[in-house]
Symmetry: C2
């Protein structure tokens, strides 16, 4: 076994189990105890923090250091990571979204096929179609394909379904992925139209990297995010929800989380949220079990009334 390989195996061992007695390590690596000590020293010189406990029942332990060591993962751990990243990236909720995509595409491009199949199997059972969001869910495969094409400056082909439902074929030079609101956009130079465009990812189908690389052009905007924002005439409609609820502020806040603010107000409290989709506030209100008054928007009042009427009919029919 070469030295490099041995170092990797040592790192791997130190990552799986907290304490390793020296003799056990040296036996596993098939080297003398002296060489093991030298290997540990080498790791330390590389910047990894290896604690050592002396005395009887002592041993070695890898501790968090200044930088992240190369992660040596079991197959199942890798699958778990991929699945987690997949849902994180496709739901596009947080501020880490684009890094999630980057990490995902890195992991995916390195995962052997059998692990990728395993991941698909798990993900197909896991992917919850985000109950609260009406936003279209992005296909993870599309996302990673585009991310890799951006990273590699590779010309890309895909079909695009524009607003009017006409499907067009595109050949573009992809620049960057942007996540805005709950949507993903691809900023790319359209070769056939000879201009920059932004594409909604949920309207892209059958993306194919061509293998052909290109030199980056100048984007006529501050950055990709700005370009997308310029291009969007009408932002997705947002509702400013304001509802008076007859219950303790704390109890309501527990069910709402960070997607709304709850303020006390006399006997009850006031719930304020900004949402794209009225289903989620409706659910919160239904679950609250408390009397309420919808102050705005009118659409929510209508929706509540509609649900009330419909559910009342159910009540009569089923009783």
């Amino acid at each position: 076994m070469s030295t490099s390989e041995r170092m990797l195996r040592l790192l791997s061992l130190l990552q799986t189990h907290r304490y390793w007695p020296g003799p056990e390590l040296s036996e596993r690596l098939e080297v003398s105890a002296r060489t093991l000590r030298r290997d540990v020293d080498r790791l330390r010189e590389l910047g990894y923090t290896v604690d050592a406990v002396r005395g009887a029942a002592g041993g070695y332990q890898l501790r968090a250091g200044g930088s992240l060591p190369p992660l040596l993962l079991e197959d199942e751990e890798a699958v778990a990571i991929a699945v987690g990243l997949r849902t994180a990236a496709t739901s596009a909720v947080s501020g880490t979204d684009d890094w999630s995509v980057q990490a995902l595409s890195k992991v995916l491009s390195l995962m052997p096929p059998r692990l990728r199949r395993q991941m698909d199997a798990v993900a197909s059972q896991t992917d919850s179609p985000g109950p609260w969001e009406g936003a279209p869910v992005v296909d993870a495969a599309v996302l990673t394909t585009l991310a890799q094409a951006c990273r590699d400056s590779e010309v890309l082909r895909f079909d695009y379904t524009a607003r009017e439902a006409e499907v067009t074929h595109r050949r573009v030079e992809p620049l960057r992925l942007v996540s805005l609101g709950r949507r993903w956009y691809l900023v790319a130079y359209d070769r056939d139209r000879a201009d920059w465009r932004s594409f909604r990812l949920d309207r892209i189908t059958a993306p194919e990297p061509t293998g052909q690389r290109f030199r980056a052009r100048d984007l006529p905007a501050e950055d990709a995010l700005a370009f997308v924002q310029q291009g969007i005439r009408r932002m997705p409609q947002r509702y400013a929800v304001r509802v008076r609820v007859a219950m303790a502020a704390d109890d309501l806040a527990a069910g709402v989380g960070r997607w709304g603010t709850v303020t006390e107000d006399g006997e009850g409290c006031v719930l304020e949220m900004n949402v794209d989709d009225l289903d989620w506030p409706v659910m919160v209100l239904a679950g609250s079990g408390a009397e309420l008054v919808v102050e705005s928007p009118p659409e929510l009042a209508e929706k509540v009334a509609e649900v009330g009427a419909r559910f009342s009919r159910v009540g009569r029919a089923a009783s």
Copy 2:
């Protein structure tokens, strides 16, 4: 720079960018082109699949091989992974949950403090208090602390809030984490009570590894999962939901996802789900916008009627 370090840097470079021209690599690594070729050979001998494209504009490329190479991550990628795993693990939805925990505890224990802080910051903005689940959310810190204690066979101390709200102090030998339904349990040998117990994680506070290690005992059960199942007298109440809905099966299925099955039935369709919590089916039904008949359970019919009545009152008050 030592050979081992150089190999790691080469792997890292190959992981970040798809194609690398040989001369650029050899320059970055500060070695001759010949040595670079030898390094690539070494990688191949270690089992990694490095593709090479000859001819002008050729280069090297790391491809998915038989096994996952050590992942060399950027800080932000690591944060994204940790956040993803954290939500995957704490929401305990999928079948990968325990592997998520293991991967998470591995990543966390290796992450330098600054990255962990960064992760906390992001997670605090991200953690959606799972709108659909009434189940208590498990603290990620508790989860990973316990996972590590299990892995390391380390005696653990914590406070436990039993059903009757009395807080007791425990010293246990942790064996394994089990995720059942939407809950996490710790199977451990309680040293003071001299017997095996299972603890609900959402009732554990302030867990502290003592550093003291122990020899594993025999669990009086098939495995940890079986032990937990035996111990739980009353499983969380599950409702078998069956509702007739007057809309196309496909449209409804899109909103329900894998958490229920939709079958066509004459003009409309039938929705069947198994849930712990009736809020989620109520929301699906509210969002459907269609007439419906609740066939079971009666609790759902009551709930629908209650919401219907309450929302109707809102309708009158707001109009």
